[in-house]
């Protein structure tokens, strides 16, 4: 893509997102988006960021981390902290306020960047000593890390402790969430399609051979870990400042980490399209199954679990495997299988 095409594409995306965001907040004519659906849509966006970023380390680099909720917590609390304690002052410096679009946008940017930086530092601190470990050992260390973070947060009154960060100011909106989600997909996709993506594939494939190719496996594992953590931190910052959805240590335990892992496993580990699909499906599914609960109380989570189990039995490689949805892929399928296309 030429530079001008890229700028145009970015401008168009931002324009569309801003338009949709306006529709979300003010509606169009008599039309208003149902708040419940809007909330699910926003959660999809946040889960897409989490799943795609986790895919970088668990899928592309083949390292098994189960501490994603920990990085989300570090980033989320740092970002929200900035807005709660310094947001008004920052907006004031610009002669604006948090209720004003410009003021909120500046504060949001600063808050999310702080969240990303804090989570990246946490990723570095955990990654350097623990990425020499493999498989189960790395999983245990990352799990332990995220639990430590959770317990620390529980004991900081300034961020709400056990009651959650209820002082959060809801300045996240549809625009921010989906702008970051798209950015995350672009970043991870571009890494995957480059020489760095191949480096991660060598680490996943055979570390001894990777080193023999002149690749410092530790260095790139830490790098992938840090990027992944930073993006999870941004997701935390978005989710902590979403309307009526304050961060709470209870929701940031290892079950949350497992949830994100399930998203990428169901989608197809290593596939970005799969992560996006998994995040979307697993955000909608529990909600869609609520109707079932109205008729047959208690069946909701049973059905949910059953669907996950069936997926793993019939598609152990995940719905997408390692494949990506791309224009080239769609065209190829169209040509190879005319019968399927007609049907």
């Amino acid at each position: 893509m030429r530079v001008t095409t890229k700028i145009l594409a970015t401008a168009a995306t931002v324009g569309v997102l801003l338009g949709l965001n306006y529709l979300f907040e003010y509606g169009f004519g008599d039309f208003r988006i149902n708040a419940y659906y809007a909330r699910i849509l926003n959660l999809i966006g946040i889960n897409v960021i989490l799943a795609v970023s986790l895919n970088l380390i668990n899928g592309l680099a083949g390292q098994f981390s189960i501490g994603h909720a920990g990085f989300m917590a570090v980033g989320g609390y740092s970002a929200t902290f900035v807005t709660v304690y310094y947001g008004r002052a920052i907006a004031g410096l610009l002669g604006s306020s948090l209720d004003d679009a410009t003021g909120a946008a500046v504060v949001m940017t600063i808050s999310l960047l702080t969240g990303a930086a804090a989570a990246a530092l946490a990723g570095l601190a955990v990654g350097i000593p623990s990425l020499r470990l493999r498989g189960d050992y790395l999983a245990i260390v990352t799990l332990g890390f995220s639990e430590i973070i959770r317990v620390i947060i529980l004991n900081i009154p300034a961020v709400g402790g056990a009651t959650g960060f209820t002082a959060a100011i809801p300045i996240t909106n549809f625009f921010w969430i989906f702008a970051v989600a798209i950015l995350t997909i672009v970043i991870v996709r571009n890494i995957a399609a480059s020489t760095f993506g191949r480096v991660l594939a060598t680490i996943r494939g055979d570390e001894i051979a990777a080193e023999a190719m002149g690749i410092s496996t530790t260095r790139y594992k830490v790098l992938a870990f840090v990027i992944s953590a930073a993006l999870a931190g941004v997701a935390g910052g978005l989710s902590g400042q979403l309307f009526a959805n304050p961060l709470n240590p209870q929701n940031l335990n290892f079950v949350r980490s497992i949830e994100i892992i399930v998203m990428i496993v169901i989608g197809g580990i290593g596939s970005i399209s799969g992560a996006v699909f998994g995040a979307t499906a697993l955000t909608i599914l529990p909600e869609a199954l609520r109707r079932l609960d109205q008729q047959f109380p208690g069946l909701r989570m049973v059905t949910y679990a059953l669907l996950l189990i069936l997926t793993m039995i019939f598609r152990p490689q995940g719905l997408f495997g390692r494949r990506e949805v791309s224009w080239a892929w769609l065209r190829r399928r169209g040509q190879d299988r005319p019968a399927a296309a007609i049907k």
Binding site: M1, K6, V186, I187, N190, I191, S194, T195, F196, R198, V199, A201, T202, R204, G205, D206, I208, A209, A210, E211, A212, M213, G214, I215, S216, T217, L223, R322
Partner: protein, 254 residues
């Protein structure tokens, strides 16, 4: 001028077992140096020492006059020593072409930001990596399989692919660990031709470990025989074949 590769009294002990005992070798530039010995003689250990997988217990190793002992495997590859593995280690879920492309990373100049932003430097370099990797596949007659999964290739082709991948790192010294293992006689003959061609066209020095005597005697100009970690003979192939100590090591004492 110093030899390309030199080891001085390198010893490797695993607990009570001395796998390599006081190994001293000199590999001159442009040499085809063969390291042979019966099973368990310590040949692969020598390779692992030279490439930094193991640390030597004693002794020094020099590449182009500079010490390489204590360096990490990826640093040694960057210095210009590439290797293949006895039990093939290709990247299983990558294609044949991608396997070779991975080895171009260490000569890559693009930054992570280039890749994320998709800068012209990134696109230019990706094209160059692809073209160079394809050219290497052609040398080994693997260009038609470029898109296939590496591990789906026949055994002999996998071995050739490993050599192509090692060459993509732009080495000055190539270490081949049993390159002819599992090859039929025709494949082994082709391999010998390729090894000679590599030395001549790429100004490469080759150190190889091999069981296949036809290959060793046919391709090497110097043969170094070790047994139980100890050097028992060094010389041109013709002398080695007549050396009574070598014959004894291979066939057992009378």
């Amino acid at each position: 001028m110093a030899a390309l590769l030199e080891t001085r009294a390198v010893t490797k002990r695993f607990g009570g077992l001395t796998a390599v005992k006081a190994l001293t070798l000199r590999v001159e530039r442009g040499a085809l140096y063969g390291l042979i010995g019966p099973n368990g003689a310590g040949k692969t250990t020598v390779f692992n020492l030279l490439t930094g997988v193991y640390d030597a217990t004693e002794g020094e190793m020099l590449f182009e006059g500079a010490r390489i002992d204590g360096r990490k495997p990826y640093e040694i590859t960057r210095l210009g020593i590439a290797r293949t593995f006895q039990n093939i280690r290709l990247f299983p879920d990558l294609s044949v072409l991608e396997n070779v492309m991975t080895a171009r990373h260490l000569r890559s100049r693009q930054t992570l930001a280039d890749a994320i932003l998709g800068t012209p430097r990134h696109h230019e370099e990706e094209r160059e990596i692809r073209a160079r990797s394809m050219a290497l596949l052609e040398i080994f007659d693997l260009q038609h399989t470029a898109g296939e999964t590496a591990t789906s290739l026949p055994y002999g082709s996998q071995r050739r692919l490993e050599i192509a991948r090692a060459l993509a790192t732009e080495p000055r010294l190539l270490l081949l660990d049993e390159p002819a293992a599992g090859m039929n006689p025709q494949e082994a003959r082709d391999l010998m031709r390729v090894i000679r061609r590599l030395r001549d066209e790429f100004a490469l020095t080759v150190l190889l470990v091999e069981h296949n005597m036809k290959v060793v005697m046919g391709v090497c100009d110097t043969v170094h025989v070790i047994d139980y970690g100890e050097t028992i003979a060094i010389g041109p192939p013709a002398d080695i074949q007549r050396n009574p100590k070598v014959i004894e090591a291979y066939l057992g004492g009378a």
